[in-house]
């Protein structure tokens, strides 16, 4: 039952997860081929970050399976998970930099921890990775001293520090200007083309999604409502998907607070 094709670096099967009584992920399934970039789209709060957390093994699903490089990970213990994690890098939605360390030390951390390289080699790698994300010369600043977009880029440099096979990015370009967005997009595509890296990218930015994605899935209330190549997604008639891609205010996507709702809540006496 756990046979997977070796062409697939990542496969998620029938993943379900509840927080309390709220269903956050329902029957999520998809596959990612080596060297491809999978885009996960979906409205705020639909469970994108939660899905990533399951894939990186921080959260365990209620049911379903996740295969990374053919290995099932949902039942692995900490030690087994640590081994699998050596193969991937993750950029967190908030950057998750260590505030007590400088930018350079943040990027150096996974390098120094994972092997016995000398600090001068680590320093060189740090320089290279920071240059990739356009942050040469910022090594000595603390995370508190750089902007939100810069933190994202440091986070990306850190995720790439160990040359992972599989890269997870939670909204890598949120908070970046259009030029920097384009730089990061080009970088992601380059990495997959030149180094055979595979990537899973969560994004709200439709321009960059269609620019870099080779596979896309759309999450809505914890379910996959559409998946396919960018071409297929563009031609998919699903009204929710259409509204999301076009960014229309009117459509089937329910607003959490419509006007009537809002008035009702205001008038409600607890």
């Amino acid at each position: 039952m756990s046979e997977t094709n070796d062409d697939y670096i990542l496969e998620v099967r029938n993943l379900c997860r509840k927080f309390g009584s709220r269903k956050i992920l329902t029957d999520v399934s998809f596959k990612l081929k080596r060297g491809e970039i999978l885009i996960i789209m979906g409205g705020s709060g639909c469970g994108k970050s939660t899905l990533l957390r399951h894939i990186i093994g921080s959260l365990k699903p209620d049911s379903g399976e996740i295969f990374i490089g053919g290995q099932e990970i949902t039942k692995l213990d900490d030690r087994g998970m640590a081994k699998v994690r050596k193969r991937f890098g993750m950029l967190f939605q908030t950057g998750a930099l260590f505030n007590s360390l400088t930018v350079g030390d943040n990027v150096a951390l996974p390098i120094l921890e994972s092997s016995d390289v000398s600090s001068s080699i680590a320093e060189l790698v740090v320089k290279l990775k920071l240059e990739l994300v356009g942050l040469t010369g910022f090594e000595h600043l603390k995370p508190a001293e750089i902007s939100g977009g810069m933190k994202k880029r440091v986070g990306l440099a850190r995720a790439l520090a160990l040359d992972p096979e599989l890269l997870f990015c939670d909204e890598p370009t949120a908070g970046l200007d259009p030029v920097m967005t384009s730089v990061i997009d080009t970088l992601t595509v380059d990495l997959t083309k030149k180094l055979g890296l595979s990537a899973v990218v969560v994004t709200h930015d439709m321009t960059s999604a269609f620019r870099i994605g080779t596979q896309m899935i759309m999450l809505f209330e914890g379910r996959v409502i559409a998946q396919g190549t960018p071409e297929e997604i563009r031609n998919n008639p699903d009204p929710i998907l259409r509204q999301f891609i076009n960014g229309d205010a009117d459509g089937p996507i329910p607003l959490k607070l419509s006007k009537d709702d809002y008035l009702k809540r205001l008038m409600q006496v607890e």
């Binding site: 993750m90 967190f92 939605q93 908030t94 998750a96 996974p110 994972s114």
Partner: protein
């Protein structure tokens, strides 16, 4: 809850002693930073608290002993209670308030900011990386601070006795030395060692299990301080009983 705490403590101590059995070395720079944070920064407060308590002990003792016409006994009272009980206790109280709470708040903030999750994803064990340096620093610095505090407390007792109670400065010292045994000194230090372990593990435990943003950090810090205080007192009672009956 208790199970999770025990689990973390076991893992922490295993990682702490691993270098002695050929495991990976301690991260000395992190340990040093924590020793400064926990220990050196607490020194003035610890000294101050012990100084004041030394004075209080001497004066209250003098009040009682005067009725018996035995003010000389003040020296042995001060020496005995500071070394056995007051020194380690008040030092631990100060360290809990200053450093135990800040360990919880710091680790809790890291948890909320996904930093601990990021460590896991990078294959770095947060127990080794974050808990061990703090715990080890606690275990080293608590006895050091206790010795410092005891010294200051004894000095304060001497000072007030000589200046206000008109005791002979030399007799006071010889009386003190005659009153205490080596065992008293070691009892105090053993207590400090255990308190260090308790405060370190409890502080880290509450920090690492924070959920729910800044509010969660605040709640965990309060819980950490309360739990540290009660566990420290429980350990004190237990150790005192054990030592008394052996």
């Amino acid at each position: 809850m208790l199970f999770a705490y025990a689990q973390l403590s076991l893992r922490a101590f295993a990682a702490l002693f691993a270098p002695l059995f050929g495991g990976k070395r301690w991260r000395l720079s992190a340990l040093f930073t924590q020793m400064v944070n926990i220990g050196v920064a607490s020194m003035p407060t610890v000294a101050m608290a012990n100084f004041l308590l030394g004075i209080v002990l001497a004066i209250q003792g003098a009040g009682q002993f005067q009725k018996l016409g035995a003010t000389d006994l003040v020296a042995s009272l001060v020496a005995f209670s500071i070394l056995r009980e007051i020194g380690p206790l008040i030092t631990a109280v100060i360290v809990i308030g200053r450093s135990g709470s800040s360990i919880t708040a710091e680790l809790g903030t890291m948890k909320v900011a996904e930093e601990i999750e990021a460590l896991n994803v990078m294959g770095i064990d947060p127990v080794k990386f974050l808990v061990v340096p703090r715990l080890l620093a606690m275990i080293i610095m608590m006895p050091v601070l206790t010795v410092l505090g005891e010294g200051v407390g004894l000095f304060a007792g001497w000072l007030i006795s000589v200046t206000s109670l008109h005791l002979n400065p030399i007799f006071y010292v010889t009386n003190s030395i005659a009153a205490v045994e080596q065992k008293d000194l070691f009892t105090g230090l053993l207590k400090a060692l255990v308190f260090g372990g308790v405060v370190g593990t409890v502080g880290c435990f509450y920090g690492i299990q924070v959920e729910g943003g800044a509010e969660g950090v605040g709640k965990a810090t309060t819980k950490s301080v309360v739990t540290s205080l009660t566990s420290m007192l429980a350990a004190d009672a237990l150790l005192t009983t054990l030592i008394y009956f052996t």
